[in-house]
Symmetry: C3
Subunit: 666 residues, 3 copies
């Protein structure tokens, strides 16, 4: 890709006449759109009858766009196999958990593991790659669209067979599976892999191992499909490949992006839920570390379908969103969609231009984004996002374990976002990192809500601690094995010895009137908890009331040059929030985090690093304005004037670029 | 039919012994029941074994009733095909949206489009018509019972084939369907009509065109069944034919009644929701204009089934219901049911007589109805309901569009009833009229909640305006094409030019803090909205706050001798209610509506026209009493005394008949 | 069984290695566990491949336990047929009400009526009985586990055929079924039994008779399976047989226990819902009158599964639970489960020992139970629970009628428990007795919430009244026939003449502003009600406001030496609760109940009878402590000191054993 900041939109030229397309391109240029994404649902346009493939419309389109200064991200159209694929072939279709076979007429209706689907997907993708791969306008590729957004695990016969193969590969023999899963429970015991059921309807809950492994199987298979498709494209194109994913989909993003070239995501977070937006930036930056990510889809104003709509963004918010994204590592900020759909189930969805070719309610906000992009582009291209000192491990595989065992309807995304929000509020620059991420460069690591901690992760965290890091483990972390069973050596397995504790009891603290005290705060404790007897460790948080008074729920164990902190229970409510913030603040202090600012809630500071200087990108995200305390003289790059230490006021949705020499202290 | 007011009940003599029937007839006579409806579920009694048909029981029954002064509405028994039809024939049964095949044991279990069903339905109906069509007691016919009350669109294979035929008839070629629906979206594109799916399970929403058209198809087919059945009956009987329908069922009532002879409905509205009751009277009066309608079913006290019950009516309410219905154009007021069911799933349902032959808790109220009927009969037979000056267009086809695209769980019936209630509260006499109704005679026309406005409707409304009418369009009106797609010339298509406006934006105003001001009132604006730039039109309602400040949400365009008023947004909450009432009052004033009274809320005035005089039927519906201001000397027909101008107090559930000479002013 | 109090746990040795088992037995002995229950899900361990049966592990296990002083309740493993039974045999599996076929992987997945299931179940049970039936350690048998806990009525083809046979046996001819059910309603009418459907999906509700009879059929069949299994065991073992049932399951407990030897139940009632716990003791004591019951499963601390958990018990509660159970007639108090599951879907469930072999959060409470057991054992073995003077009839068949006809989502268990709680609060010793129980020895009988009262029950109640009993009938009692239809002679059938009343009306009183007055209290009346005209009876409760003012809702009819009290409506809310307590108190006084104590709410007194003396077991159940007034000198058996009349304070979860000479007055 070229070194620029992209401002783009999803575009469906196959749905419009030539004169409309001409009008679109004209308005795109006026608006400042410099990239469009095309092709993702266009299989029937490319291959109306089976085997009659013609990509000409799209090669022409890409050229026409390129001639007008607009580059293209080309998509494969695999989320929507045409009617010649679907009609009269229920065996090719997705089957849900109730056994219902999906029909044609929406999207993601095919089983992506179906052999014929894979064959036809390979053919169409090869045709597309061959036809457009060499075109100068093509700067990137998107595989498919939002894998597993509308569907979870497929229960078709193809998947059943693949599942048995996957299990055999994982477990070797059925005996080892029986042993690992303890299948004599409820006489589930299997003689052959082919007997292992899919988690289909049953009178009561399925076995945890079966449920979790089936999710892991499904996530692996969709990533394999991506790998397969990427390999085909690479035969014909050097342009980098991505997929527009999300934490909301049933995929393992770490695995998915492993063999792709850059990471991107879609988000339709509400303007009133800034953390749910920013968490994506702080996570996606780390799926392909050192490489910019893309926001591939976001609404210029509001999302909608036939059956629902969100509130349109307040004026000004879109600009704040874009600047925050670019500052946190995005190379592109793209809308879904350019021109409002004329037909289908997303007709009401917000767009840049209406179906009748006029500016929408969000249009002036799009212009503001373009103005901001121009203002900040040179500064941003000269800098890169600062690596955070603090990391929070994020895991979609852990999401699968929690989906199997949600205790009380716990929702992974909600838990993680609420946990993340506290770091935002405290003004601490942070990375969300995948399980397999390198821990070098971090000083403080949080590992919450991960039922199963892999030995590999523990080993790397141990090395991180040895070298001086502080590792905070919990809550809800480490209590399950790889197979989603209970440890039999200790409640938290090998972790306990490392942390210098013995877990006395594990039980749900909700409803037991448990009160914990730590860091000068007392708070109710809840969720599934581990109560500790300290061995080598020190008790830092004590249970004052409840079923285990006097025992510890937070412990500290020095290890090497660092420290392992166990957080066995979840402090609840406002008091719990305060206690957790005190905990974070405490260890941020101990770890001597420097990338921390005294910023008011609702405003963010994104630190970026240039050659011998730092730039703070400050953005007010909540529309109430805010302030940041500046402790060192800097230079306001937009106002082009020096900035003296003191309180810097930030207006409603305002952004500022402040440059500091590298000797500054935050 | 004879010129009388009917007081009737549904009766199931096939379920009882001869002595019980004899007792029933005796009590009916004492009670004043002069008509019963029989036969609607009695197929197994008439044709216990396939082909062994005997209608004798019913001919005898009708004669026995007639000899006792009780006339009969005869039903066809088609909602409940016997076991010889259902057993071992899943292909004849109704299939729901999840693909579940219905079984025997309830009602509406057959697919009414199944060819064998149609054949057997024709046979039994012909036998019945031949046997009873000539009997003097038979004064009318009811086809089937509550078409599509328990089921919506059928998904069986028969329907699939018919669906393809219906599409072919509508669209001619598959190419024209593809074009109209824009099926390249999501690669839905079809090569042959037989490929077009039914809206069966899919991973996400189906295409709007598919969903809406499938509903229109289903509504047409059930009406065709009614046509077919009516034609058979007419071979043997001159008695008029109806169907007991409702706004709650999945039918197009305008189409359904087109080829029937008179309109009737069933209602079980709560006594605390008077508008939900009255709206039926004001609508059904207009399905067969100039011909009295029937209330075919209403509860004498409370509705109930095994799984639910409603609160019994307060004493006195039933009489108010009956008098209001007769006054608003009903020829009959009939109960469901005469004798409480001994068996089945409606055993607990309220009735006139208990299963053990005794008066129920509602019985004295039924006697009150009969007394009232006798009191008012001669006055009502000498008059007819006054045509309203104000009309609100009601459309079941529009309901289908809204069911496809409900935005935020919008419910057509609730929206329309709440809109209607304001006219009631303002004391304005009103007609609800079907889309195809003649607009002659009206001065003020409201067209709310109609996603798709047909060119035919627009043309007729335009002529109405030309001749001096005021047409208020919206909210939620005109934004979709016939095929349930978005206009591409303008947000509201041809309507905009006519109304002298340009729709700048359409978007959901909920959650955007939008405030509109008009007619001296300010109110929050919500729902999916159209924001106007006035061209020739004048801005009457201005958006004061929100995303489009200064733009119009209400506009006025003079056209011919009349005026087109666009209402682009929904004023919400109590303030919105006030604003809407001001709007209605304003245009009622401009239109110089005379059929308006100064009546307190909860009391109604139904104006009727005699030969050179008018009669007001005044009824208190809410049980709190009320008053009406009389501005001209009248004559109290029940008290037989003059009535002088001033405030007339109306007691709890009281009714009054006041006659005025035609020179009066309201 | 031996004369001792058992303290036990469920144990799954087949899931653990020999060394773990050894450790378990060691800790059991330390803990005081003297009985374990084994084998209930172990079919795959016993018969891993079809026909390869080996019970050796369990015979060894029983011997090993016995050698360590631990006795065994042996289970049949029929709730979990192995994969060789399930795999590729959907026709053997349970089918739910939507037609969904259950798969392998959970439990209760087989249709228990399937012939092959019955055959294989007989084979495995015969092998087990032969192998372990003679072992000295085996003191009892449990059949299967929690019949119909996760599933209700099966809809498979096997059940369909058996259903037809059951109907034929019950009704003789299809004509008699048609007559009894009145099947001409909705043309349901059947020609052959094989045509009668199962209550599978239909457009609206099924016929009440069909729904109720299908439940009775299902309950009879599962009891027949129990009978069949018990007969096999008895060929090889003299140890008594039971099943661990519950009021929450879809079984007829009275019928189920008829041919078993002793009664047992499982309960996981919350510590905050004492009545839901105690009601089991007061009911199960009467399924096998004169024989001690078992609490076969209860949590030592909290119940949990992958998807939910309950709050752990407060410390001290478990001991109160155990003492209350023993005092009210339990011979055993057993936990589910001994060692936390390592795998499966119940991993998080509370246990005595963790999966890693350590005491759990509940362990000290288990030790307290053992201490209490030792303290009270000799006193309890020397006494038996006093027969109550007051009985409330409990019927699972009635639950089936209410499930068919729940009016407004009425829940049988909730209704009965709330009704029962009042007797507890009033300190009245009470029996819940099955419908067929002998009424001798009772003075006051309540019969609430029984839609259908059998002639046999009415005759026995009539004899009870003749001899001096007071019988309170209602609410919601007697209004349906055996076939779940409406009486046609009188609303409540033969009951009315007996009670000297005529039911004028039946209707739902909710929402009718009905107020009733009786025993000096006024209260709103609700639920489906019967309004009485007194004939011979006296009006005791009068409807003051509503639709039937002046009529009676409570009547009294003297009959023989006793009295029949009709309660036609449900007093609602706090005032209703007060009125009902006054009613109970009034008739308790008239009946001269002596087994009544002046105990504070949350504390119970369980009276037991010894040879010439009485022992009160007093237990505080709510953790707040309480008091009882002692009116006669007694002897505190635990403190070994006299107790003088006056107020006796009971501490938090404290229990006391007070002995009185038989001349005492309560």
């Amino acid at each position: 890709m070229n070194r620029k900041l992209y401002h783009g939109a999803a575009y469906y030229p196959e749905l419009w006449d030539a004169d409309v397309i001409e009008q679109d391109i004209k308005i795109m240029k006026e608006t400042g759109i410099n990239v469009v994404r095309i092709g993702e649902f266009a299989w029937s346009k490319m291959e109306p009858e089976e085997g009659q493939i013609n990509i000409g419309f799209f090669t022409d389109m890409i050229s026409q766009l390129y001639e007008n200064g607009i580059e293209t991200v080309m998509c494969t159209p695999t989320p929507t196999p045409p009617i010649w694929f679907s009609y009269d072939h229920p065996e090719r279709m997705f089957v849900d958990g109730q056994g219902t076979v999906m029909g044609h007429g929406s999207r993601q209706h095919a089983c992506t593991n179906n052999a014929y689907f894979r064959e036809k997907a390979a053919v169409i993708t090869e045709h597309i790659a061959r036809a457009v791969g060499h075109l100068p306008g093509v700067i990137g590729w998107q595989l498919d669209n939002e894998f597993k957004a509308h569907v979870a695990e497929c229960m078709c016969q193809t998947c059943k067979t693949l599942w048995h193969g996957w299990l055999e590969e994982r477990y070797g023999t059925i005996g080892q599976l029986n042993e690992a899963w303890g299948t004599h429970i409820w006489s589930e015991y299997y003689h052959r892999f082919e007997q292992v059921p899919q988690p289909a309807p049953a009178p009561f809950l399925h076995h945890s191992s079966l449920r979790t492994m089936y999710q892991l199987f499904s996530m692996e298979k969709i990533a394999e499909f991506a790998d397969e498709q990427a390999a085909i494209i690479r035969k014909y194109s050097d342009a980098p490949i991505t997929h527009n994913s999300s934490v909301a989909f049933h995929v393992d993003n770490e695995r998915l992006f492993k063999n792709l070239d850059f990471a991107s995501f879609d988000t339709y977070a509400s303007s009133t839920n800034t953390p749910a937006y920013l968490i994506n930036c702080d996570l996606w930056r780390n799926f392909k570390k050192g490489r910019a990510f893309w926001i591939m889809e976001t609404s210029p104003s509001f999302s909608a379908s036939l059956e629902s709509y969100a509130a349109p963004h307040p004026n000004g918010y879109l600009k704040a969103e874009a600047v925050a994204a670019y500052a946190l590592g995005a190379e592109a900020f793209c809308y879904w969609l350019w021109r409002q759909q004329r037909t289908g189930c997303e007709q009401p969805h917000g767009s840049v231009i209406s179906a009748w070719g006029k500016p929408t309610v969000g249009y002036t906000n799009v212009l503001e984004v373009e103005q901001a992009r121009k203002e900040i582009e040179s500064v941003l291209l000269a800098t890169i996002p600062a690596q955070a000192e603090l990391a929070i491990t994020y895991s979609d595989r852990s999401k699968a374990y929690l989906k199997t065992e949600p205790h009380q309807k716990l929702n992974h995304r909600g838990l993680v976002t609420a946990f993340y929000e506290r770091f935002l509020t405290l003004g601490i620059h942070r990375d969300l990192i995948p399980e397999g991420a390198d821990l070098d460069g971090y000083k403080l690591l949080f590992t919450p809500f991960i039922h199963y901690l892999s030995p590999d992760y523990i080993n790397r965290a141990q090395q991180f601690v040895e070298k001086g890091g502080i590792w905070v483990v919990g809550p809800l972390t480490g209590g399950r094995t790889e197979h989603h069973t209970i440890h039999t050596d200790a409640a938290l397995g090998q972790l306990e010895q490392l942390a210098g504790v013995e877990t006395l009891y594990t039980y749900p603290m909700d409803g037991t009137n448990s009160i914990g005290r730590a860091f000068g705060e007392s708070a109710p404790l809840g969720m599934w908890s581990a109560v500790f007897e300290t061995k080598e460790a020190a008790a830092v948080g004590i249970i004052e009331e409840g079923l285990a008074p006097g025992k510890a729920f937070i412990t500290e164990q020095k290890y090497g040059k660092g420290k392992i902190v166990m957080l066995g229970s979840m402090p609840m409510g406002e008091e719990g929030d305060m206690l957790l913030k005190k905990l974070i603040g405490h260890y941020a202090g101990e770890a001597q985090l420097s990338l921390r600012t005294n910023v008011t809630q609702g405003t963010i500071v994104a630190p970026r690093v240039g050659d011998g200087y730092t730039v703070w990108v400050i953005v007010n995200m909540d529309g109430h304005g805010g302030s940041v305390t500046i402790s060192q003289e800097g230079y306001d790059l937009l106002k082009q004037q020096p900035l003296f230490p003191g309180k810097l006021e930030i207006g409603k949705y305002e952004y500022r670029l402040i440059q500091f020499e590298d000797t500054r202290r935050y």
